[in-house]
């Protein structure tokens, strides 16, 4: 094994261990300390409301391009009216949760890691601890709860906008019959497809919060350290979302066929 591979493996397993310990601390805090809902509400505003435009644009254009590509293939076999059904299932169970989570990881994960990391290098985290406040209670739990509450809402919004944008493209640009397009979408999309997406996004939200907070809390010293923690938070969150999505698809497909 080369030195860099060893280093990567050590960092990966180290990060996994720290993430597990942070999860333990989060659940311990949830049972022992009453969350400050004002802080949770502020984080919900920061994560949810401020991410809305990014997530909406992503959802809309993903739905539109998926509709166009599906139509180009389905048109060859005269299945034009099934286009929106494919968009709906694809957006609901896969693209909606994954792309929303990737966008939130980029916007919010980076911000959390930078904010917490800066607090660490300027000794504000130590100051919190000397003031009888654990960083996990004050910084991590509100972000974790806000992420769990907001991600399904953002994803649902992204899916709806994606399907609606696809419908408009299908009808106005590609000339598909709107009645059959809508009917087939309703007919071939079942509740389990949407439930799969919602469960996934809930888990992805937890992944982003834990990785971003962990990177911030363990940020190396200096401006370079904060920069590295921010980059790693986005990269590791994104990779973990993509890898876990595959396994979640397999498991959830069995549980919610």
């Amino acid at each position: 094994m080369t030195r860099s591979a060893k280093q990567f493996a050590r960092e990966w397993f180290g990060g996994l261990g720290r993430g597990a310990l942070l999860c333990r601390d989060i659940f311990s805090s949830l049972f022992k300390v009453k969350p400050v809902w004002r802080d949770v509400l502020y984080q919900m505003y920061f994560i949810g409301v401020k991410s809305q435009s990014v997530v909406t644009i992503t959802g809309a254009f993903t739905g539109m391009v998926l509709c166009a590509q599906t139509y180009f293939q389905f048109h060859k076999v005269k299945m034009d009216t099934a286009t929106l059904a494919v968009v709906s299932v694809g957006m609901g169970s896969e693209l909606g949760p994954v792309l929303t989570s990737l966008m939130v990881a980029g916007r919010v994960g980076a911000a959390i890691a930078a904010e917490v990391g800066t607090m660490r290098v300027t000794e504000q985290i130590d100051a919190l601890r000397t003031l009888g406040t654990l960083p996990v209670d004050y910084l991590v739990v509100p972000r974790f709860l806000a992420m769990l509450l907001v991600m399904p809402v953002l994803t649902a919004g992204s899916i709806c906008v994606g399907i609606f944008a696809a419908f408009l493209v299908g009808v106005w640009l590609l000339g598909i019959n709107p009645t059959y397009l809508w009917y087939n979408m309703i007919h071939y999309t079942n509740m389990n497809d949407m439930m799969t997406g919602m469960i996934k996004t809930f888990i992805f939200g937890a992944i982003i919060a834990v990785i971003a907070c962990d990177k911030g809390l363990n940020c190396p010293q200096g401006a370079e350290g904060v920069g590295r923690a921010t980059t790693e938070a986005v990269v590791y969150s994104s990779i973990t979302i993509l890898v876990s999505n595959f396994f979640l698809t397999l498991v959830l497909n069995r549980l919610l066929p």
Partner: protein, 250 residues
């Protein structure tokens, strides 16, 4: 004894920082810890409040060894301490008022009007009236340290820790901080431990001085004894004289 440190050892990787530090502090004492930069003074201070875990040895606060306590178990122990950090460590996303009132706002034991009154009182003690609505970024280095001190004393801790209280300040501001520390110790009857390499400050704020050298307590004396010492290590440090090897390294 309010604080007792026994054979404290701490390494960072392969670098030994503390190699068996032993000392104790009586209630109400004003202690200063001096030593070269990077010699482990701040590391020692952080062990007292449980911000760092020792590799070996014991740190007893009020007779309780805090070395093995979890972060949550340490909370009541830390409530006895107030700490002024080297860069003041003010929360930069909060106003001065919210910084100073942080612990009272978290505990919610007092109504907002009473908290505001207490904030005004402690800001008055540190000589900074009328800056409640300012942000930490708008304050000078000396003002930030005084706000940090106000935040540390608002909940009347038993022990105050100062990490390099005058570092980075001009001589006038340093003098003001020294006098403020002396006044706070007298007014609030607290045990005070300051870490510094500013010899003028060490002499003024400490009734007893510990010198940390090569990871151990090298001297434990009154300021008068220390400044008259003929020991070459103490003499060179107190008078700021580098030996030939140190000059070459620079």
């Amino acid at each position: 004894m309010i604080i007792e440190v026994r054979d404290l050892k701490k390494n960072f990787g392969a670098l030994p920082v503390l190699q068996g530090v032993t000392f104790s502090v009586e209630k109400g004492e004003a202690l200063t810890i001096i030593g070269v930069s990077g010699g482990g003074k701040s590391v020692l201070l952080k062990h007292l409040v449980g911000l760092l875990k020792p590799d070996a040895g014991e740190v007893l606060i009020g007779g309780v060894n805090i070395a093995g306590l979890s972060e949550r178990q340490l909370l009541p122990v830390r409530r006895q301490f107030g700490m002024l950090f080297q860069g003041a460590a003010l929360f930069d996303s909060m106003t001065v008022e919210d910084n100073v009132a942080f612990i009272l706002n978290r505990e919610r034991r007092f109504p907002p009007a009473e908290i505001a009154k207490k904030v005004e009182e402690v800001l008055d003690v540190v000589g900074l009236n009328g800056i409640e609505k300012k942000w930490p970024g708008e304050l000078s280095g000396g003002m930030r340290k005084r706000v940090g001190l106000a935040r540390a004393i608002i909940y009347r801790p038993d022990i105050l820790l100062y990490d390099e209280p005058t570092t980075g300040l001009d001589p006038i501001a340093s003098d003001a901080i020294d006098h403020l520390i002396i006044r706070v110790v007298q007014q609030f009857k607290v045990t005070s431990i300051a870490v510094t390499h500013d010899m003028r400050s060490a002499r003024r704020i400490g009734k007893r001085i510990l010198m940390l050298h090569e990871g151990r307590i090298y001297a434990d004396q009154t300021p008068e004894e220390l400044f008259k010492s003929s020991d070459p290590v103490i003499y060179r440090f107190v008078n700021g004289i580098a030996d030939s090897q140190e000059k070459i390294n620079l």
